[in-house]
């Protein structure tokens, strides 16, 4: 690992105002330490934000049906929160089905949404080609690489790396807002606008400036007791999603009044299936309707020989998740 300086500022304001180029925030460190050992991330300075203002950014607060969660809340704490589990199970599911109990104790939800892809060529610097790691160098995955885990939605001819996280699918489905402290003060951003498609520049992953500090996530309407996160993977636990769906339903009798869909494991960014939602709204909650919506969600898929299976798997995951959500108490 390369040498770096370690700072532990006392306040969020100190963290942001003392930010220098080459520095990086450090929350639980589970993405950072992993990638620094691999020489993929090379910060000159780590700014440890885990203890800012003695836990001031570690909170879960409800006010009516609005939910606000501090960015430094550990994954475990949010996953195990009784009220969250009852009122918006999708959020809890997306966390306890991720990583391992040890990692969930360490990782914070702000770091979680900014975790990096698990594309093996991004992680292995002995490969020269990786547009995400080294802009303009090419793509070892597209150039004859192993692509079974790669994305089928939101890809470009420069990069097909999957966004690996689970929790972000629930946030994008719930219309979450990201609260940021930047050099010019506080501002907020729709979670859907945080991550950007790879297009021509896969090294650009988010719309954040390097010194932007995520303070909290807020969800104006988080009252979705009929919601869940279904995750399909190669082994039962402790594995990234091959395909996953965060689904939420509100029913008006037998009619779908509101539906939310976030798709994981299949796309380059946290993926909201808006056209599929539109096709379902106002109609009946039947398997045939769900299947039709799944066809719509994957209509734009672009595949390789090895990951083509993800289209069918992704559709089935979405249909099953919706069927199971429809059977929940709402």
């Amino acid at each position: 690992m390369r040498p770096f300086h370690y700072d532990k500022p006392a306040t969020a304001t100190d963290a942001v105002t003392n930010f220098r180029p080459g520095a990086q925030y450090f929350a639980g460190g589970t993405t950072m330490v992993d990638l620094m050992k691999l020489d993929v991330m090379k910060p000159a300075r780590l700014i440890d934000i885990s203890g800012l203002e003695k836990g001031r950014y570690d909170f879960i607060k409800w006010s009516g049906k609005s939910l606000r969660i501090g960015a430094l809340t550990p994954m475990t704490k949010l996953a195990d929160d009784d009220k969250v589990r009852a009122r918006v199970p999708m959020l809890s599911d997306a966390l306890w089905l991720a990583a391992s109990p040890q990692i969930r104790n360490m990782a914070r939800i702000g770091g979680n949404v900014l975790q990096r892809t698990r594309c093996p060529y991004f992680r292995d610097t002995s490969y020269e080609q990786c547009n995400k790691r080294k802009p303009g160098s090419g793509c070892a995955a597209l150039d004859g690489g192993v692509t079974r885990h790669h994305a089928v939605l939101g890809t470009s001819d420069k990069c097909i790396a999957t966004y690996p996280g689970d929790f972000a699918q629930a946030l994008v489905a719930l219309d979450a807002v990201v609260e940021i402290l930047g050099e010019d003060g506080p501002r907020s951003l729709r979670f859907a606008d945080l991550h950007v498609l790879p297009e021509a520049r896969p090294d650009r992953e988010t719309t954040l400036a390097p010194s932007d500090l995520i303070i909290a996530f807020s969800i104006e309407d988080a009252d979705f007791p009929r919601s869940k996160y279904l995750k399909i993977r190669d082994r039962e636990s402790y594995a990234y999603a091959l395909a996953s769906t965060a689904s939420a339903l509100r029913m008006d009798g037998n009619t779908i009044a509101d539906v939310r869909l976030g798709l994981g494991g299949v796309a380059t960014t946290p993926w909201r299936a808006r056209e599929a939602e539109a096709a379902l709204r106002g109609g009946p909650a039947t398997e045939a309707q769900f299947a039709r919506a799944a066809d719509i969600a994957f209509a734009g898929a672009s595949t390789t020989d090895e990951n083509a299976f993800k289209v069918e798997l992704g559709k089935r995951t979405m249909v099953r998740s919706l069927l199971e959500t429809a059977r929940m108490e709402g």
């Binding site: 306040t11 391992s100 402290l181 003060g185 390097p210």
Partner: protein, 204 residues
């Protein structure tokens, strides 16, 4: 204060500007030119930084100086010669390095030693002793819950936490909440049996 969004009650914009004019004004242009992502490279290579830390290790107060790059696992094994915690993968994928940090199970291979400053670390060496085994250690012996034994210290530290966290209610729950600890010898059924046996003793 009119420009303050109401949800930002926790951050003082005035404090931010006051504290930051000197430094932030100079760097903001450079910082913003770059959008998040890539390999976050930097031109100036910093020098090695060594910092003093204090830890409570298995009940003993320790003061030491560490390279900021050292993981807690390497400090435990090399500097403190506590070799019970194992290095399986060094990348968070196996659980062999599991220790308790202020009582919560943590991967010591993904924890920088500087992050543990001021905290209480419990390793397998602090759990029990050969003539006074912890109930979880005895349960592993009683149930043949290991073969080569390499994953065992991590399994035991995780098993203890699994029970204290209240995640050992059923076999399925034990399997899920022990899934961060891999065992190449596949002693899994016996590990579940050991956690169940220890649960009876620890709770009873």
């Amino acid at each position: 204060m009119a420009d303050r969004s109401p949800s930002f009650d926790q951050v003082s914009r005035r404090g931010l500007i006051k504290g930051g004019v000197a430094g932030a004004a100079v760097t903001s242009v450079q910082a913003k030119a770059q959008v998040r992502g890539g390999a976050e490279n930097t031109a100036a290579e910093p020098t090695v930084q060594r910092v003093p830390i204090t830890l409570d290790i298995n009940g003993q107060h320790r003061e030491l100086t560490v390279d900021t790059r050292s993981t807690l696992l390497d400090v435990l094994r090399h500097d403190l010669e506590l070799t019970g915690s194992k290095k399986g993968c060094d990348h968070g994928q196996c659980g062999a390095c599991t220790v308790h940090l202020d009582g919560t199970r943590t991967l010591s291979c993904l924890t920088l030693a500087v992050q543990a400053e001021g905290k209480a670390v419990t390793t397998i060496e602090g759990l029990g002793s050969p003539d006074n085994l912890h109930p979880m250690q005895r349960a592993f012996v009683d149930n043949d819950a290991f073969q080569c034994g390499y994953c065992t210290p991590g399994q035991i530290m995780s098993g203890v936490a699994c029970i204290t966290e209240g995640h050992a209610g059923s076999d399925a729950e034990i399997r899920e909440y022990m899934s961060g600890n891999l065992c190449r010898c596949a002693a899994y059924p016996n590990i579940v049996a050991a956690v169940k046996q220890a649960r009876g003793e620890m709770e009873g």
